[in-house]
Symmetry: C2
């Protein structure tokens, strides 16, 4: 476990947002910040986004804030205004500069907890919960992993694909802190010799990874590339990285689509990738016992699409 964090993690910066500090105030992430009664720690009752800042620029900040708002609506967790999040992130970036150097890449995690039950932090609903930003230098290990082929295992997420529509209390479109199952799936994969997971529905649709989106690709007869991703209706978190890739791909003349993807379709796919905001793009070279073709040139195109952004 220890090797998952290198010395860079020791240099993380925290920024808290509250009614008295709507533009944020710096804290030391090595010091306790949360009460044990904070609902984030009591019941995983909060929402979050993880973004990538490159040379001090946060990629697709607006898309992440929009997804955070969607999570907030679903979970009924009140949020500070977007301007607070942006100011708090800026404050954190400045803190790095003041300390003598902005790392080339930072993982920027923004978290909104429902707060302490029965004790709103402020009478202003926009600041009634607990809000913080954590900026952590991206380790060389994570940087090196980008673009590298991975092996995944297909794991049933237990829900059928109609669950999100019929049971909104399952919060399937929200990115909540209740991630124990996602982490258990990743542990299961590691214990069985895989790098990552692709979740399936109980009715055999392909969904997403525990912390990533899935892309399928094939070269069409005319030499074009077609990218496809499972549709969000099945209870998938809409991927901001996937969306950025699709936008750039369309501009490059590629075809893109989203829709239901069956397990059979997954196995028939020519190329597959997992995408995420910090790990960016990982080509899938194996699904359980099935080899999958890997095309380094295509993977580099996807990585290029992401670096064009903003």
């Amino acid at each position: 476990m220890a090797e998952r964090f290198d010395e860079d993690a020791l240099h993380a910066v925290g920024v808290r947002i509250d009614a008295e500090h709507p533009e944020g105030i710096i804290f030391d992430p090595h010091q306790p910040q949360l009460r044990v009664t904070d609902l984030s720690a009591v019941r995983g009752d909060g929402i979050f986004e993880t973004m990538l800042a490159v040379e001090g620029h946060v990629r697709k900040f607006t898309a992440h804030l929009q997804r955070l708002q969607r999570s907030a609506q679903i979970t009924e967790i009140p949020l500070p205004p977007d301007s607070s999040w942006r100011a708090a992130v800026d404050l954190g970036l400045d803190e790095f500069r003041t300390r003598g150097g902005l790392p080339d890449e930072l993982a920027v995690r923004i978290t909104a907890s429902r707060g302490v039950d029965g004790e709103p932090a402020s009478d202003d609903p926009a600041f009634s919960g607990t809000y913080w930003v954590l900026l952590t230098p991206v380790s060389s290990k994570v940087k090196d992993s980008r673009g590298r082929p991975i092996s995944v295992t297909l794991l049933d997420r237990g829900y059928d694909s109609t669950a999100p529509q019929r049971a909104p209390w399952l919060l399937l479109g929200a990115k909540t802190l209740s991630y124990a199952v996602n982490m258990a799936a990743l542990r299961w994969a590691a214990a069985h010799g895989h790098d990552d997971v692709v979740f399936t529905s109980s009715d055999d649709l392909v969904l997403e990874g525990p912390v990533s989106s899935l892309l399928l690709g094939h070269r069409t007869a005319d030499g074009q590339v077609h990218l496809k991703t499972p549709s969000a209706e099945a209870g998938i978190l809409p991927g901001t990285t996937q969306a950025t890739i699709f936008r750039a791909a369309e501009q490059a003349g590629w075809q893109t689509s989203s829709g239901p993807v069956t397990v059979a379709e997954l196995h028939a796919a020519e190329f597959l990738w997992l995408t995420g905001s910090v790990k960016l793009v990982s080509p899938i070279a194996r699904i359980d016992d099935h080899e999958v073709r890997v095309d380094a040139e295509l993977t580099n195109s996807l990585l290029d699409f992401l670096s064009q952004e903003g």
Copy 2:
């Protein structure tokens, strides 16, 4: 929200367990204790139990510790020895005595977090996570609610009843901190005029409440009482309160059983209750639009069974 906590909550006592304090050390729950990088707050990645202490005696402590151990095995979260939990709870009880008075009833929540990723709190695996006990006086509101008839709504939990067997990574037998869905279900119920929820599987079996177990009861032809509870195989947390009731009921000559319970069987049940460690027993008087008979005498018998214990 504010009325859910009365002034008693201000007098909670916290006890932390770590390698330097294997028998616990007192902390003030109003002061920050957790780093924002603690996995309890990052990903709801921890496990817990909530117990009831009456006049300084923790009810069914052993059963809760056993269930915590089961959660720990499923989630691979290392735990301090039982003796640490017991000593820490004793320390918390003593703190109340020192302060001038042990409340007649305390909710005692024990929590084990996986800790901070990549930074184990100790080289000793038994203390590598973050561990704490929170003792909170039970409010008069909760006390008054015991035995009172409630209205519940049936909500689909999305999983079918075979999910626990085929997909252990769903952690269905573990009591984890990832409770956002349970809380969302309770909010849904409240918004629709109900007090609580009974979860169903997608294949129409009846499961449990978000924070309680379900009991079915009927009087048999010979005047006996038969209690039934849904079987744990369907992905239910085995209820410690339900188990205590069943043990005492059997000693009183009642019949008990556990097995699959269909929605039709639920609607045909003569009596229904939700049971939990702190709220004890709540007779169900309504399931959505269906009235259910309530028998105050039977409910009192169940409450008596619980007060006999220990």
